[in-house]
């Protein structure tokens, strides 16, 4: 059932067994898990079924650190949340992502990949994915052949694509028909109420933009508003404890992570002898499911090199990718006529290696034919958990008088060195196979080689880590059940609980964790 909070009386009090704040991937998944359970669920949503400018403006905030998208553009505040603009790229976290890695401080989850397996299987259905397997051998018979990677340094792997499932659209009717679920639209959480000794939550104070005040009282509460907003709501809930709720150890908002993505981390030139690169640069439909091949480092590589996890794939280069000096079409045409698509040194390199290493008839001669063989390497990675990378409150307030969020995203000091290292590993694999040579950071020149900011990277709208999970309250905001330490009935859902991030896009893991949390809450409520 859907209820518009604006239609309720000012000061109205609603009761439920479970109150979920936020109707994105996590909140909707949680609510669906309770359909038919006999428990009353109130799912609060700030917006409605379409984006509204006034509501979306509540996401505004400050960018304080590394390059980052404006905060009202990198997330969506209406029913379905950020699944309204996700690409659907999915993969489970790797076993290593759950492990404590001695070379990555603060790493490790309270449980491992095997524990997550049944929840991932159920999440696959929610995200409308194919079978819950990422083993290449389960997919490769329907795909273009990948390279024979045998050095033990890299693996071929796949990502699956969700259609992508727009949770707000896909599950709208189901939630409308659910007798025990009330979706409260246009309801903004403005405070989490607790007693003077904040060992439990006694209610959620909510408001509409039109000024109506509501109160939702439940036995259990779940914050599911995203990796930035979960922290912001806890930090703003500071009437009882000045530092904010659940923030006794100053961890709320810290360890903020995203997946930096570098679209042109390298330039690879292939000989024409290799028949097919499509495994790495084309989406392929296998038995009705869309998948994409990628390169992943092996666990041995990551452990030996002491690197955070990463992934790479190939993209057909546009002419401008291969033409560093090109500034205009006129220049491009001139270069094409001269057969020069690489810079001078790149041309020399290929003149040499095509004879030494059977890169015969190198593609740069033929770049304007149909068989373009110049590719860029697209790289993305996890950033190590860093307490200095954080979401915090800035002075500016929103329409409810709540301080807005500031994002101070910090990249690790070895971020660029690890991109070089990753491309070197790939280059050595290509060289070993005798199929290509690779140049890292093709945009570097002798003039700017020590100046990194020209390397273009983007964040990925994957906001993680700000209410991290750890059994020890001095090292995590929530425990292994996603319950806020010290508060008996407040839980957190979403990627803000990730203690370590992996390279995989987070929505599948968010969904799996929401299912896991639903199981836990059902058991908890039955035991009450």
């Amino acid at each position: 059932m859907y209820v518009d909070a604006r239609s309720l009386s000012d000061g109205e009090r609603l009761e439920a067994d479970l109150c979920i704040v936020g109707a994105g991937a996590a909140g909707i998944t949680l609510a669906r898990e309770f359909i038919g359970s006999g428990l009353r669920v109130c799912l609060m949503e700030s917006g409605t079924f379409e984006m509204e400018d006034e509501v979306q403006a509540l996401c505004q905030g400050a960018v304080l650190g590394a390059e980052f998208f404006p905060l009202d553009q990198c997330r969506l505040r209406f029913f379905g949340g950020s699944t309204n603009h996700w690409t659907g790229f999915c993969r489970t976290l790797e076993p290593l992502d759950f492990a404590e890695r001695p070379y990555i401080p603060h790493s490790g989850w309270p449980f491992g990949a095997e524990h997550m397996r049944p929840f991932y299987e159920r999440a696959h259905k929610v995200c409308e994915l194919g079978p819950p397997t990422y083993a290449v051998e389960d997919w490769v018979d329907g795909m273009p052949a990948p390279f024979a990677l045998e050095s033990g340094r890299l693996n071929n792997a796949i990502y699956q694509y969700s259609p992508p499932t727009r949770f707000g659209q896909a599950y709208r009717d189901e939630l409308e028909k659910a007798a025990n679920v009330t979706v409260l639209l246009h309801a903004n959480a403005v405070n989490i109420e607790t007693p003077a000794e904040p060992d439990r939550v006694t209610g959620i104070a909510a408001a509409t933009l039109e000024g109506k005040r509501l109160r939702i009282v439940a036995r259990d509460y779940v914050l599911a508003t995203g990796g930035i907003e979960n922290a912001r709501i806890l930090l703003n809930a500071n009437r009882v404890q000045a530092a904010g709720l659940g923030n006794a150890h100053g961890l709320v908002g810290r360890y903020f992570g995203d997946h930096p993505i570098v679209w042109r981390s390298g330039l690879a030139v292939f000989g024409e002898g290799y028949p097919n690169l499509e495994y790495y640069c084309r989406d392929t439909r296998v038995r009705g499911h869309l998948v994409r091949g990628v390169f992943l480092p092996t666990e041995e590589t990551l452990n030996r090199e002491c690197m955070p996890n990463w992934a790479m794939t190939l993209m057909e280069a546009r002419l401008t990718d291969a033409s560093e000096g090109a500034r205009s079409l006129k220049t491009l045409v001139a270069q094409a006529e001269a057969g020069e698509l690489l810079d001078g040194f790149g041309t020399h390199v290929l003149n040499i290696v095509r004879d030494l290493d059977q890169l015969a008839e190198s593609a740069w001669h033929r770049a304007f034919d149909t068989q373009i063989r110049i590719y860029t390497t697209r790289y993305w990675c996890e950033t190590p958990p860093d307490p200095e990378s954080r979401v915090l409150l800035v002075e500016e307030q929103d329409r409810f008088g709540l301080r807005r969020a500031g994002v101070d995203w910090r990249l690790p000091g070895d971020f660029y060195a690890n991109i070089v290292k990753s491309n070197r590993i790939l280059a050595e694999e290509f060289g070993r196979l005798g199929i290509a040579r690779l140049q890292v950071f093709p945009d570097r020149t002798p003039e700017n080689k020590d100046d990194w900011p020209h390397i273009q990277f983007e964040s990925s709208y994957h906001h993680m880590g700000t209410t991290r999970m750890h059994a020890d309250p001095r090292r995590g905001v929530v425990d292994a059940d996603a319950r806020v330490h010290g508060i008996s009935n407040l839980h957190v859902a979403g990627s803000s609980v990730f203690p370590t991030y992996g390279h995989a896009n987070p929505t599948l893991t968010i969904t799996a964790l929401a299912i896991r949390l639903a199981d836990h809450l059902k058991t908890k409520q039955r035991d009450l």
């Binding site: 001078g344 040194f345 020399h348 003149n351 030494l356 491309n423 050595e428 196979l433 690779l438």
Partner: protein
């Protein structure tokens, strides 16, 4: 056991050839003979010079043609160019396998191919 570059060159370019026809090794050849070998291996001297200069900037310790020849061609016979070419290709791949690479202007190249280019530069110096 992993073959190193020199072992591989010996195994592939040496072997039966050297057993049947004992000729003077390349490392003992005069400079002009090296130049002939390199011109067969590296048809573009201009490109080789460019890569070689970049390599020597990175690895100044290799600024010694005798050392490079010994490193690359010790025990090799210049009579079997085709076999040598194959041996070099194999050595290049073995370099990549073993991580013996250098980064020149961001390009990851094998040490063998970079040293060959460096020799061109040094021979013409």
């Amino acid at each position: 056991m992993e073959l190193d570059r020199r072992d591989l060159l010996m195994a592939l370019a040496g072997g039966t050839l050297f057993a049947a026809t004992p000729l003077a090794p390349l490392s003992a050849a005069p400079r002009r003979d090296w130049a002939i070998v390199l011109s067969d291996l590296l048809p573009s001297n201009e490109s080789a010079r460019a890569v070689g200069r970049a390599y020597l900037d990175t690895e100044p310790a290799d600024f010694d043609p005798q050392r490079l020849v010994e490193d690359l061609f010790e025990g090799q016979d210049r009579a079997e160019m085709q076999r040598l070419r194959g041996a070099v290709a194999s050595a290049v791949r073995a370099d990549f396998e073993a991580g013996r690479t250098v980064s020149l202007h961001g390009w990851f190249l094998s040490r063998t191919e970079s040293q060959l280019c460096a020799m061109v530069t040094l021979l013409e110096a």
